[in-house]
Every structure is written in structure tokens, then in C-alpha cells.
Symmetry: C2
């Protein structure tokens, strides 16, 4: 397995400020890895509003089911996340493992079971030995502090080559609030769900229903429009917590006009984290932004964009820095959405390579290839049919992806 950091990694990691009411700790519980942390806890000193989005998999992990059940209660006191084992497809043993972990978490902070949130990431199908949490959670809750966001992001990594963190501030009802977030994910990344693990916390004073509405609204243009390999995890979990420690009036509705600045900052933070996941796509060397315009509807545009983004032939061409726009045509054609070959136009960056259903008369292989040599590549397809529009993000498909995934488990 490669241990090289993705060439698309951020040059510097964001320096995350404190979020009043949030404390973090990490530990090495030896779940699978050696010589690294594999447990992270986030402790909320007072019950925080919580919102969540989960995988659409019909075979979700035990922790996903656990969180879904608790979400209706709306408050959280502790989040426990482990890497190395996903506790997915572990049947009755999996449910016992979540119960055991929750029980240790309850003891650690003294809360109700409905205030506990759990997430696990790693290998599927192997029983998770939850007794490993029993010994560490109490100590972790005690030494948890407001620093350590980057360390927390490191503890939840699996095949990630770098920790993913982001921060934003926003004005909310006359108060300056902060939003911090972290994410993990590099493979088994595809849309229509929360697409990996991501945890966001803010000191804003927002009710659970309003927080949920904001999270659900923005997931469609952030985490749900990135894809690494079209594979949907059993464990995808995106949770947001609002401690309310910033003070100010509590916001009850997502439609509250005071939320304008906060919502935009929240969306930007989600997009930032989602793109960091793509930039750490397993084996990735290129980041690709795919925009489809002129489709029958926005939904049709999104399906065509994903057909391009998930095509192995498009992704390998990008890896090979080959301006093979014929494969874009192929992917448009197979999407099943309305398309008129003879109206299609395609751009790589600013270079139009095809127009009116054939190669651009002014096509320059040199110009197209120069775009393909870049690290960030924008592909745009104009269908010329309607007003539908969508943008999705993906990475290239390299030999390293195959190498990483050919022996991940062993």
C-alpha cells in the first residue's frame, strides 16, 4: 500500500480555532492499526443540537442504525468514532458492539443513551472488539480539550493520505460564530448519501430541526456530488453539532433570515471538506470538475455528469493525460438521458474540443493536452437541449487505485 501523501493535498492544513462547548481527544486502542491513534471522541459539555445524514445503503453498518435511532431526540453529549473496523455486516455481534461502546460512552460523560453518537470506519464483516473502548473512553472524556481538531481528524483516517479539516466564521444574529469540520474518506466514495465520515461542530445557537434542514439542503451540492469510485459505503455518516455556546437568540427555523451568512459559511465548509475527500481519492493525481449544461433538467444534467465522472475509461484517460474527448461522448451517450449527438459541445478547460457533434474545426491537440497536464482539470459539456445544469467532482483512476484496493484487507 502506498503511504505517499496525495499530490493534491492542501499545502497547509487549516488552523482550527476552539468551538466553545466542544472538547476533543484521541487514543490508540489497537483496534487494527499499530503505532497510530484509532479512536476519537468529541464531548459536548452541555447537550448540543444534532443533525445527521447517512448512507442510502440497504446494508448499513450497526453504528449508522444506532445514530439514526437517536437522531429524533435532537441532542448529543458525546461522539465516539473509531477507524480500523467499520462494524458493518457484523449482525447481532455488531449491535452488541455498539451497545457496549455506547455504555462506555455513557459512563464517560454521564448522559442518556440517546445523547451518544457512534461511527466506525474500516474493514467490513469482521467483528469489532468493543471491549477495547471500555478502557479508554473514560480517560479520553477527562483529558478532552478544545484543541486537537487536526489530531482528531488523523485518528479517523483509513486509506486517507492526509487529515481533512476546514473552518469558517459567520455572523449570526449579531454574534460571530465559528464552524469547524473534519472528514475522512478516500475510497468507497460515491453520491446519494453522506459519502464518508464527516463531523461538523459550531458554537451557533440553532435548534436541531433548523440544523438538520441546513445540513440536508447543502449535502446535495457538496458531499453528494463527489465521487471517487462510484462505490457507496455501508457506513457513510455526516453529523453536525451546534453547542449554542456563542449565545444570542436560539434560531428555530432554517428559513430564519438571520441565517443567511451562516448558511453560506456552512455550505462553503461542507464543499471544502467534500473536495478534500476527492483530492485524496485513492491513487488520485488529478482533480476533475465536470459541469454539464443545457440538459433537459438539473437531475438529467447530474446523471450525465456522474456518468462521465464514474466512467473508468474517462478516468483512465485523465490519468494518462490523454485529451480523449470521444470517451466523454461515450459517457454522455450511455447515461440514458436525452442527448442530441449533433448539438453536443465539449470543453477541456477553456479549449473547445468538440462542437455540433464533431471535432472542433479549430481543434488543437497541443492545446487540449496542455490542459490535461494540469493538476486540476475542468470538463464542460453543453448539450444544447434545455436549461438543466449540474457540477460534480471526481479524480482520475490510476494504477495506484488498483494497488491500494488489491490488498487493502490483507
Amino acid at each position: 500500500m502506498t503511504t505517499t501523501i496525495s499530490p493534491l493535498a492542501p499545502k497547509v492544513y487549516a488552523d482550527l480555532p476552539h468551538i466553545a462547548g466542544v472538547r476533543l481527544a484521541t487514543a490508540a486502542a489497537g483496534i487494527k492499526y499499530r503505532n497510530r491513534t484509532d479512536v476519537m471522541v468529541m464531548v459536548f459539555d452541555r447537550p448540543a443540537s444534532v443533525a445527521g445524514v447517512f448512507t442510502t445503503s440497504k446494508c448499513p453498518s450497526a453504528p449508522v442504525e444506532f445514530c439514526r435511532q437517536n437522531l429524533s431526540h435532537g441532542t448529543a453529549r458525546i461522539l465516539v468514532v473509531n477507524s480500523g473496523n467499520a462494524n458493518a455486516f457484523t449482525g447481532k455481534k455488531g449491535r452488541e458492539a455498539t451497545r457496549l461502546t455506547a455504555s462506555a460512552a455513557i459512563d464517560a460523560v454521564g448522559c442518556a443513551e440517546t445523547d451518544v453518537y457512534l461511527a466506525s470506519t474500516g474493514v467490513i464483516g469482521e467483528p469489532l472488539d468493543a471491549t477495547k473502548f471500555a478502557g479508554v473512553l473514560g480517560d479520553m472524556a477527562e483529558r478532552a480539550n478544545a484543541d486537537g481538531w487536526l489530531e482528531a481528524a488523523k485518528a479517523i483516517m483509513t486509506t486517507d493520505t492526509y487529515p481533512k479539516v476546514a473552518t469558517r466564521t459567520a455572523e449570526l444574529g449579531g454574534v460571530l460564530v465559528t464552524i469547524n469540520g473534519m472528514a475522512k474518506g478516500a475510497g468507497m466514495i460515491a453520491p446519494d448519501m453522506a459519502t464518508m465520515l464527516s463531523f461538523i461542530a459550531t458554537d451557533a445557537n440553532i435548534a436541531p430541526a433548523a440544523l438538520q434542514a441546513i445540513l440536508s439542503e447543502h449535502v446535495g451540492t457538496t458531499f453528494n456530488v463527489v465521487t471517487v469510485d462510484s462505490d457507496t459505503s455501508t457506513s457513510d455518516t455526516l453529523l453536525a453539532f451546534a453547542t449554542g455556546a456563542s449565545g444570542g437568540t436560539r434560531i428555530e427555523s432554517a428559513d430564519d433570515p438571520r441565517l443567511v451568512d451562516f448558511k453560506e459559511a456552512f455550505r462553503q465548509l461542507m464543499a471544502d471538506l467534500a473536495l478534500q475527500v476527492v483530492r485524496d481519492g485513492e491513487g488520485a493525481r488529478k482533480m476533475v470538475e465536470i459541469t454539464v449544461e443545457g440538459a433537459e433538467t438539473d437531475a438529467a444534467a447530474k446523471r450525465i455528469a456522474f456518468s462521465i465522472a464514474n466512467s473508468p475509461l474517462v478516468k483512465t484517460a485523465i490519468a494518462g493525460e490523454d485529451a480523449n474527448w470521444g470517451r466523454i461522448v461515450m459517457a454522455v451517450g450511455k447515461a440514458g438521458e436525452q442527448a442530441d449527438r449533433d448539438r453536443l459541445a465539449i470543453w477541456f478547460g477553456e479549449v473547445r474540443v468538440a462542437v455540433d457533434g464533431e471535432r472542433d474545426p479549430a481543434y488543437s491537440e497541443a492545446a487540449a493536452t496542455a490542459v490535461m497536464r494540469q493538476e486540476d482539470i475542468a470538463i464542460r459539456v453543453e448539450l444544447g437541449i434545455g436549461e438543466g445544469r449540474a457540477t460534480v467532482w471526481t479524480c482520475d483512476l490510476t494504477k495506484e487505485y488498483v494497488a491500494i484496493n488489491g490488498d487493502y484487507r490483507s
Copy 2:
């Protein structure tokens, strides 16, 4: 680009007998390749019944449109196939190229335009210089002979590492008839269409409508259930020709009871060719048969089977000989069809690895790994919900797939 023959290639190629009424020839017209043949013609001395199935792509190639138009006429005198250029997404120039090629074909055999069939395979988006056909087709039609099926199959190869041919005989109305077929395809292979180029010829005396019904019926369990990379070509074309030279009463309906033996032989030949395409999947080292049982419906079973067959994570695990059945669970979960995690059972070969939603109590890593080391791997999933059933075939995803497709065009 690799030039090694797939390790999954047949040990010997079938020896194809003559089909009365069919003559073949190949030529090197220099369309793209050097030092190899790139044009194949199949000449029918008398009008043969013809049937066809084509790509479902919304951006089909010019030859696909040309064949679709002619099909209603029901007879064929000549088939012209070239490799090296797909004449797809070539706009007006593409239609001119098919017209020019058809015109040379008409001159070569003296027939109506509606009796001409064309197929092109290779790079998309580059204008095809059809003047290259003008010089060779007349000579080819003259020297065409009943031998040379293997040579014909070689002339239509692109990234294929071996020619694909198959033959069967059947009893039809008291007469012994022969069916020969060839196929090409190694990448851009996915279901819901004819899935590459394949040409089948028989001396059976069958009307076009009956031949079409047989072809359409069997495509669903043969060519449409194989996938190499989930990518659907713009050029997929499957054509069948029946010369009637065997004599006997002409069969007008596919429901004719005399067809029983013929239909089975025809289906077997189609399956044989379809599996040869998978066995030459770009970079393939393993052939994988995926069976899903106990689904809500057959259609649901097929969608789940394809979700497994097209999952990059499943395919790379197979390449790595890793019995990573957790990824099978993932692929079942993401298919969107009804599944109950806690009833799921999974077999690799004869080894049950998971049952009742968790790892089999008798799970043996050694036994599972022994299956993964084989060249042909059978994966079976039992959902325990209904009676729906489907089998699909695919190959593994190796670094060679990435290498082949990272620089195919350049």
C-alpha cells in the same frame, strides 16, 4: 500498451467450417494500424436474411444509424467492418464516410444500398477517411472465400488480445445447419446493448423476422449480461445473417417448433462469444461469474449482480486475490434494490463466507483465499427475499486496465 495474450484466452481456437453462401476476405487499408489487417468483408452470394441489435447509446456512431435504417428491408449482400476508427461523433463527415463506404460496397457486389451493412470500431471523434475503402473493397469481394473466419476475426480486433470465434451445428427441419460467429471487444463493454461487434452467419433457411426474434431473445442472457468496465460503446453492433443455403422449408416464425435445436445452438454460440469478450477484458486475469438468487424479481437480481460486477472495489479485490466479501455486501447495499442485511449469505466458489448477515461461523480464510487464487471464480449471493435470479459475468480490474486505457489514443 500490453501485447501479451490474455491468460484467460482459449487454449485452441475453434476451427470454423464453411457456411454455404458466405464468403470472407480481409485487407490492410492502413486506416490506423500498420502491419496488420483492418478491413473485413462478408459477402452473401444471394440476399441473406438479416437481424441486428445495436447500442442503446444516445450518441450512436454513423454506421450504427446506417444499419438501423437498412434493417427493415431484411436482406443483406455485404457486410464491411473496419477497425482503427469508430466513425463515431464525426457528424456530417461521418455520414459522408458511411455513404462513401456503402457506395464502394455496392460497386463491389452489385446490390442495393439497403443490402449493405457497415460497422466501425476504434477511436471516437476522428474523421474516418473512407477513400481508403474505395481501393480495396472490389478486390476483396472478388477474392473472398468460404475460409478465413479466423482471419476475419483478427481484422476487426482493437485492444483485443485474441480473435474470438465460435461454431455450432443444429438440426433444423431434417437438415443439419451450421452457425459460425465472431466477436471483438475488450473494453467499453457493458450491458443493455449488443456490447461490442459480433457477426453471426448460418446457412439455415430462416426469415428475417424469425431470425430477429431469436437474436433479440438470447441477447438478454448472453451479450447483455457481460461487463468489463460498465462503459457502453457508441458502436455496439450484433448482426446475424442466414443465407438459407442449407435448403429445407423456410422458417417464418421464431415460435416454429422445428427451431428448438437451432435456437439452443444459437444461444450457446452467443454465450460462447460473449464470454470470450469477458475473458479478453482489458487487463483481465480472472473471469468472474456472479449469481444473485432470492431477490424480489429477476430484474432486481440482475441489477444487484451488475452492482457487484461493476464495483471497482470488488474488481480490484478479485485482482488482488483477496476474499474481501465485505465489498460484496457494500455492492448489494448500494444497488438500491430490496435487501435484508440480516438474511444475506455469500459464497466464493463452494465456500460459504457469510450467512445470516455476518461472517460464517465456520469461515476459513485459507479456504476462501484458495478460491480467489483460481482463474475462474464463482460468486453467489442469496438474498432470502424472493425468487428472483440472475447471472452476469465480468473480469477483475488490474493495473493493466489502467495502463491500456491511459494511453490508448496517443
